[in-house]
Assembly symmetry: C2
Homo-oligomer: 274 residues x 2
């Protein structure tokens, strides 16, 4: 245990969730742990920030002992407010999780767990998101806690490039049955969403989301390898320019230095359609 | 006007915002327009989905005429629920906006306006996000509406690669003073956030977010060119693997086929630190 290694832990399932308790317990053998996490469950919040409301921060206990700060906001809010106001010193590392459910493939864009790590990366702090492939109430976080305890000092030692975070997924298996550890790219997938239409007691319709995650490919990705029983490690960035399309679009002849009105008349739809 | 071109319009400022009204009015001269938008303002929601609550959808009017569906959810919810339940036919194109404020550089990861377009791209529908660089109540959306009217048929005609959306930003200038149109990469930036600490009437602290957007580079990016008076067009993807880091991490020797417990003992921190 290195008391000079300051680790900020957050999550999106809320400060009272079992996953963050397992994570904090595991990381206390690695370094100094501070907790700043949402007061309530924030799943599928994406990279949300609270701008229209003020934030509250309250000290919370677990099992009768001081645990950390509960914040009335999102995971990204927690990282910002924690590093700016709540902590005595800046963290060397942010670890987010352990999420109740996998965060692979397209799910990364919806994930609050990943967004806490992304916010840390934006702020220049190396970060890890860790998720367990189990959404059940009886989920066993012990193997994922071991993985967190193992990978955290490795990342602390080796670092990550600026703007890159590490996304970790752990299978729903006892530690002894997990097949191994793989570095893997993000898979390509979509949610085959079903909004179930129901009627409320007044006869008015409402819609409830459920869905199935469909992997398009490749099999050797975070999503595929996790399903095959591997712990997966995926380095993630957030540079979103589609570079090849820049050149393609420049070839469309729609750029202009002639002011807006001249440009629109020169490259309007009639022109573009030829 | 092509009645066979079906355009779904959404936004994150809410169905009653001035920006979506300007956009819909402009696009009715381009094709058939359906509106599915959040009932309330949803700024900085990121790519959130509503999973813990049911959604409501209500028909809304504007200026005494049918306008579209208001949904009790996020921009991404609107695209999913609209395409699955509310619309008579699938849209050929999704256009999100006109946002009250720029969406450039790192702001893309927080933007609800962009998330509606991203959700469409996930579903395989070409999409455009459009934002005006003006957060004031008196914002004039007329130049941005002209830009939407110009670019929408171009994208409908030429298409976009699967998984790519077009992010458009319009300067806060009269149309006659806009310098031109540029295809531009996403800039690199951060928010120099300040949480102002205040005390409520009971003497308890609360924190309110405000901040300044700082462009790291390059000047020839969405953010820089917008500030220079150009309309910017940025093709955006959401493939998040940091490819070079895959090879680097494989070189760390932490992959394993020996089960989890064997792997952790062989590649623990002591080993990794050598």
């Amino acid at each position: 245990m290195n008391p000079n290694l300051r680790i900020l832990v957050s999550n999106d399932d809320g400060i009272d969730a079992p996953g963050i308790f397992a994570l904090v317990t595991a990381l206390r053998s690695v370094g100094h742990v501070d907790v700043v996490a949402p007061m309530t469950q924030q799943s599928a919040v994406g990279h949300a920030l609270t701008v229209a409301l003020p934030l509250r921060a309250i000290r919370r206990e677990r099992q009768g002992l001081p645990f950390g700060w509960g914040v009335s906001g999102t995971p990204a809010d927690c990282i910002k407010l924690g590093t700016q106001h709540l902590l005595d010193a800046q963290p060397d590392l942010v670890v987010s999780g352990i999420n109740h459910g996998r965060n692979t493939a397209v799910s990364l864009i919806y994930s609050g767990t990943v967004s806490a790590a992304t916010e840390a990366a934006v702020l220049g702090i190396p970060s890890i998101a860790i998720s367990l492939d189990d959404v059940s109430d009886e989920a066993d976080f012990s193997a994922a806690a071991l993985v967190a305890q193992w990978i955290t000092p490795i990342v602390a030692e080796r670092g990550l490039p600026r703007g890159v975070l590490l996304n970790v997924n752990v299978p729903r298996l006892p530690a002894s049955e997990i097949r191994g550890i793989r570095v893997a790219p993000q898979g390509e997938s979509y949610w085959n969403d079903i909004y179930e239409r129901r009627l409320d007691p007044m006869g008015r319709p409402y819609y409830w989301l459920s869905g199935e995650h469909v992997l398009v490919g490749p099999k050797e990705s975070d999503d595929g390898l996790l399903s095959d029983g591997y712990v997966t490690l995926t380095p993630v960035h957030y540079r979103l320019t589609e570079e090849p399309m820049l050149a393609t679009m420049r070839g469309w002849g729609i750029e202009s230095e002639n002011g807006l009105l001249g440009s629109l008349s020169a490259t309007g739809p009639a022109q573009a359609n030829r």
